[in-house]
């Protein structure tokens, strides 16, 4: 615990209330500032030629015809770009053994996935640039594409990187106790399943985009960026473009959805920065939707052989699995493509008490789009492995899925404690969340309805998940492994001469409401009305240094920094006010923009008047008083590697056994994210997260043929959840504050995506139980349902 513990001694005016986001008002009037909205003088467009093959040697590129076309300013091949960049390698030292070759922004000699950029046309307009692409002649020599994750590891599979002995990027094994022995005991029922998780992607409605500008004289590169981690990108651009970090400015205004897609280093964006520097003029790159599907990072793509052993009374003895995941031809820089697998190894079974665990993860190169961290990294897989296996075991021993959880969930009074894999937990509430869930969903009534419906040939199912979510990460997530990714965040709070507060923070806004909760915290802790708090985020030139937005850290870490800074400024202002008012600082308080007497609440002087004395009429102050009307504080999690959020969710589904269609009738989510700063924003984060989880469970899949061609790379063919298919989602909370901060907030952004797939798979298998079949592959498409039913 750090900082001013007295902040919550009095009732709050804003924290805990559903205050509408002030910046939404602008977006509702068409006044967003997204990257593609920008037009700068002399701006040109970067249009990329991309490899049509998943694996091909590039023998030669002829740009001579294309150079003659109208509007073309320059054309660079992969070789040209490579001369201006230090290549990057997606490994981290705390993932020992992870290997990945040096990567360049554009393919140099060999293209290794369909969509990898091979050349870039710089042109007066995007349309003219696309015309020019058609006149670039590339002499490709097609190579065999390695697409299937399992086959990629066979000894006779072609090597994607000749310098390696196999297509294995990383392997890790976690063994606790002795699973094989424990499962061999007589009284243990063992259940084994193969579970497949499809490859899907983020489909942010705003595609990736950047405008890069170079200011000769200043020697400054400015990147306007639709992304989540400006300071990380500042470091990366400086390092790989051989610049001083202070001469790189990264600015993120409004971002049209990110979900982890926009926190990585993409070659086309780096190339755009290189070209801006070479041409000394603004260059815009906006991916079109077809490019997005084959270049935005993909996620999941796991083949899992899982097993669990339970006693007849439902006690979990142990669980284990063997996971194979395909990550594309490189490990993504700088976060790596091994983190998802690592999370699965660490988090599977985390809500439960059991002794024996044996998990092996294989991270495999293949000729598909790169795979990396997307919302709820690893969680949907980890939660599905444990919770779907637990419910299957419950079915086998004839036990209710709630009862088996009750028996095995870590008790609420057991904290602090550790999971079987060694994850350190505190302030979790699995049982309280399950209680609340049962209360809001009326489980008994659903069971009765299920029986009645079955009598009419209607197959409904109820499925649960109990989950944890990694939030508020400490430096143990990336920094420890050498990544230029800050785990601390900063906040600055400044009082202006009119008595308004200007706050800035290193966390960023992508629509989740970060700016709003920062305003709430500052207004409450400092003591002004929220309308008088103005926020700046997303600009490395003006905000304090910090990590940005990922791993559900904005509220917990950025929020705590804002709390500390606001409290510090309040103390500074009260010290100054005490001198002006000839009172003691401890007898004064700030409320709604006024210095007041702490006890009587009598108004003494407005903040505006106080600030005006300080700024304009310093002559009225004693010489030795040096008022500071600005304060900055930073915060990082120190007590734990991660602060875990937990929750319980349930899905109610109906499976149409004739068409194979699954309809979600209702979804319930209970989450314990500690202190809820803005209930409406949190609830909608959970709903949005659940719907992305539903997408992965039922609809979304990047379908590839054996040549490595993505077959459904358009918005019309790749299915994302639409309004008409989505259920109502009821959200409730248990609030166990984390003791790691004064604010007590844990993250809330990813649990929905992490938990929903397991709950839905469980509900589907619950529905199919009387038909003696099950479905263990996501997305659970109608075709797969009908196959499971033996109808096709």
């Amino acid at each position: 615990m750090t900082g001013p513990a007295t902040v919550f001694d009095k009732p709050t005016d804003y924290i805990g209330k559903s205050i509408p986001r002030s910046d939404a008002a602008r977006l509702l009037r068409g006044k967003g500032r997204y990257v593609d909205d920008m037009q700068l003088p002399r701006m040109v467009h970067a249009v990329f030629l991309r490899s049509p093959y998943a694996h091909a040697k590039i023998n030669a590129i002829d740009i001579s015809q294309a150079m003659k076309l109208p509007g073309v300013v320059a054309i660079y091949t992969g070789k040209d770009i490579a001369q201006h960049v230090e290549p990057y390698v997606g490994v981290l030292s705390h993932l020992p053994g992870l290997r990945s070759p040096a990567q360049y922004p554009l393919a140099v000699d060999v293209a290794r996935w369909q969509g990898e950029p091979v050349a870039v046309v710089i042109c007066a307009s995007r349309a003219l640039g696309e015309d020019a692409l058609e006149h670039i002649r590339v002499d490709y020599e097609k190579l065999t594409a390695v697409t299937d994750t399992l086959n990629a590891l066979s000894p006779d599979a072609p090597l994607i990187h000749e310098e390696y002995d196999s297509n294995l990027a990383w392997k890790r094994q976690v063994e606790v106790g002795n699973l094989e022995e424990a499962l061999a005991q007589d009284d243990v029922v063992v259940v084994e399943k193969q579970i497949k998780f499809g490859r899907h992607t983020g489909v942010t409605l705003e595609t990736r985009a950047t405008v890069c500008d170079y200011i000769p004289g200043d020697g400054q590169l400015i990147m306007y960026y639709a992304g989540q981690a400006p300071h990380m990108l500042q470091f990366i651009l400086a390092k790989h473009l051989d610049m001083l970090e202070e001469n790189v400015r990264v600015v993120a205004h409004d971002v049209g959805g990110s979900f982890g897609i926009k926190v990585h280093t993409y070659g086309d964006e780096i190339a755009t920065a290189i070209v801006a520097k070479l041409l000394k003029r603004p260059v815009k790159f906006t991916a079109d939707r077809l490019e997005s599907f084959v270049t935005d990072i993909h996620a999941r793509d796991h083949f899992v052989d899982a097993k669990i052993g339970v006693k007849k009374d439902g006690t979990i003895v142990g669980m284990g699995f063997n996971d194979f995941t395909g990550i594309g031809p490189f490990s993504m820089y700088p976060r790596t493509s091994a983190i998802e697998c690592n999370q699965i190894l660490n988090l599977t079974g985390a809500p439960y008490q059991f002794e024996h665990y044996h998990a092996v993860g294989h991270v495999v190169f293949q000729n598909k789009t790169l795979m990396c961290q997307y919302r709820a990294v690893g969680h949907p897989i980890a939660m599905a492995i444990s919770d779907c296996m637990i419910e299957e075991a419950a079915r086998v021993i004839g036990m209710d899925p709630v009862k088996i959880r009750r028996k095995n969930l870590i008790p609420d009074d057991a904290y602090p404690t550790k999971s079987t894999t060694g994850m350190r937990f505190d302030d979790l509430s699995h049982h309280a969340c399950l209680d609340k869930l049962l209360e809001i969903m009326d489980y008994d009534a659903l069971l009765e309805d299920q029986q009645n419906a079955r009598g009419n040939g209607i197959y409904r199912g109820i499925g649960f998940v109990s989950l944890v979510e990694v939030t508020n990460p400490s430096p143990m997530f990336y920094g420890v492994g050498g990544a230029p990714i800050a785990s601390q965040d900063g906040a600055t709070v400044r009082l202006d001469a009119a008595g308004a507060l200007h706050i800035s923070s290193s966390v960023t806004e992508q629509g989740q409401g970060t700016n709003a909760i920062l305003q709430q915290i500052a207004a409450d802790v400092f003591g002004v009305s929220i309308e008088r708090v103005k926020v700046t985020t997303g600009d490395t030139a003006t905000v304090p240094y910090g990590g940005g937005t990922w791993a559900s850290r904005g509220a917990g870490i950025g929020g705590e920094a804002m709390l500390l800074a606001s409290h510090a400024l309040k103390e500074q202002v009260l010290d100054t006010a005490a001198v002006i008012l000839q009172a003691k600082p401890e007898d004064l308080d700030i409320a709604f923009g006024e210095i007041v007497n702490k006890g009587s609440r009598e108004r003494k002087i407005s903040l505006g008047d106080l600030a005006k004395i300080v700024y304009y009429r310093g002559n009225e102050l004693p010489h030795d008083l040096k008022p500071e009307l600005i304060a900055t504080r930073h915060y990082r999690v120190t007590d734990f590697p991660f602060v875990f959020t937990n929750g319980a969710m349930a899905a109610h589904v109906e499976v149409d056994t004739n068409t194979g269609l699954i309809k979600i009738l209702h979804f319930w989510a209970v989450e314990d994210c500690g202190r809820v700063i803005n209930p409406q924003l949190v609830d909608d984060q959970i709903r949005g997260g659940v719907v992305q989880g539903i997408g992965g469970a039922l609809y979304e899949e990047c379908v590839y043929d054996s040549d490595g061609q993505m077959q459904n790379a358009s918005m019309a063919d790749y299915l994302v959840p639409m309004a008409s298919e989505m259920p109502e989602i009821t959200v409730a909370h248990v609030e166990t504050y984390t003791k790691t901060s004064v604010l007590g907030a844990k993250g809330a952004g990813e649990a929905g995506t992490g938990g929903a797939p397991a709950a839905i798979m469980n509900a589907v298998n619950n529905a199919l139980e009387p038909l003696n079949c099950g479905l263990w592959q996501m997305p659970m498409t109608p075709e797969r349902v009908l196959k499971a039913l033996g109808k096709i």
Binding site: R21, K31, Q39, A127, G256, G257, G511, Q680, D684, A716
Partner: protein, 159 residues
């Protein structure tokens, strides 16, 4: 390819005479020529609905419409909904209910919502969901949007 044509149209009550490439779509025209960047482009192939605008009073995908097809038409975009479409109550309810996160789907979502309300439809959640199913939202999960539309209709009915 680079042929141009002269068009004349009204956008949000303002008259424009512009010379446009014949292959330019209406979304690019509104955004890049007129600076009305409130209209968003999410797919450019008619699926996501982000680019939806009103063309002569009915909703249209501005990514599938050529600018030259908008010659002699009247267009309303998100920048004009508050005044030209009397949608300030809908906008207020979107804001209050947090019916947008990143705001990228919002221009199209508002267009479809306004159309649903203007057609005199009821505050029926199922019908609303069907009506906005041509508008993808990747952030909200849709529930808040349905809430905001239904509240607006109920408020108008009780006025």
């Amino acid at each position: 390819m680079n042929k141009t044509a002269q068009i004349e149209l009204i956008v949000n009550g303002e008259k424009y005479f512009e010379n446009v490439p014949v292959r330019m779509n209406l979304a690019d025209f509104l955004r890049n020529k007129l600076g009305l960047t409130g209209t968003h482009v999410g797919c450019e192939h008619g699926v996501c609905g982000a680019c939806t605008i009103f063309l002569d009073g009915v909703t249209a995908r501005s990514c599938l419409t050529l600018a030259v097809q908008a010659d002699e038409t009247e267009i309303t975009t998100i920048e004009g909904y508050e005044t030209d479409k009397n949608a300030s109550d809908l906008i207020k309810n979107f804001h209050k209910r947090n019916a947008l996160q990143c705001g990228y789907c919002t221009p199209g979502m508002l267009a479809s919502s306004i159309e649903y309300i203007e057609q005199g439809n009821p505050p029926d959640r199922k019908k609303v969901k069907e009506h906005i199913s041509g508008n993808y939202c990747r952030c909200t999960g849709y529930q808040a949007i349905v809430d905001a539309i239904c509240t607006t209709i109920q408020e108008r009915q009780s006025r």
